[in-house]
Subunit: 206 residues, 2 copies
Amino acid sequence: MAREIPDIVIGRLPVYLRELTRLAEDEGKINTSSHELGKRLGISSAQIRKDLSHFGEFGKQGTGYHIKYLIEQLRDILHLTQEWDVVLVGAGYLGHALAHYHGFHRRGFRISWVFDNDPAKIGLKMDELVVQDVADLEKVVSENNVKMAIIAVSANQAQAITDRLVAVGIQSILSYAPIHLNVPPGVEISYSDPVVQLQRMTYYLA
Amino acid sequence: MAREIPDIVIGRLPVYLRELTRLAEDEGKINTSSHELGKRLGISSAQIRKDLSHFGEFGKQGTGYHIKYLIEQLRDILHLTQEWDVVLVGAGYLGHALAHYHGFHRRGFRISWVFDNDPAKIGLKMDELVVQDVADLEKVVSENNVKMAIIAVSANQAQAITDRLVAVGIQSILSYAPIHLNVPPGVEISYSDPVVQLQRMTYYLA
């Protein structure tokens, strides 16, 4: 793993990619500049140039970046030239929303399986998926060589599910459970907890 | 606004608060240390001590932190001694999940209104809320002096909704729309986009 490049830089690349895609697809633009991109994202143009310089020389003096080319390069850097299968654990309200979200596919991901331990949920249809028994989690992950998972279970269940996922080969986890999870080195984890985000903002409220 | 303290420090306080609450409520612990807290969160104890030192002296040599006291102090710093009303815009699958999420209340927030522009959704019950017509958004926000909003609408609608919320006094926005939003200085914004999080992690996948 190329840990030489700071993770915070890697974290900004998907945001650049998202905005470039918007410029190309929604606005039909051909070229852009670090100045324009920075202005749209509230990031300095110097920061953008510095971030991209870790990976090569993508712009030209005078004309800036050719958007489609830069999109291709970023997709290559982020390993998005393939579509990644993702296993979703948890078929509650949030799992339901994730299973129905159509924003994954265009951007490199497909939720291919959804699991729950609730007999009332197993067998239910969610968009094009059928909720499977979490007892079959290991079998499905290993047979399909899945590397990515999304956890949408309660805080009390999240660590046990994480341990099971990691044991069977999952290397990247996005967790919506409001709890810090322990994973071994080499496993990436990312969290989404709306309350943590809201609490940061109330600090700034009078 | 006390911008002297780095925002990244503020962003870690809710994570400390969450873990401390877990230690106290789920595990019945009375005291902890920066070492224990750091080990549980994968953060160095020096970082935790440094972060907290911005706000005062909360620990004692030898005994460490009294958990309930530190929780009270953090709640005070983050302005969580009151419960904040939050307006939710968007009653699709994700809005539905947010409206039904019971994790807000214990941690300082209450989704008090939910809005949508879809006549098929207006009037529907979501948990204890009834979906209201987004035409009434300004009226409700200003009459109730609401300061916080969650946006769960599509990318195409998000900036327009943001502009309306800001114009009527909203100062903190958590957006689930996969797009960068422009807000004036003094308005805090936080984003949650699962694809951006997944794309950061695929970088590290072989």
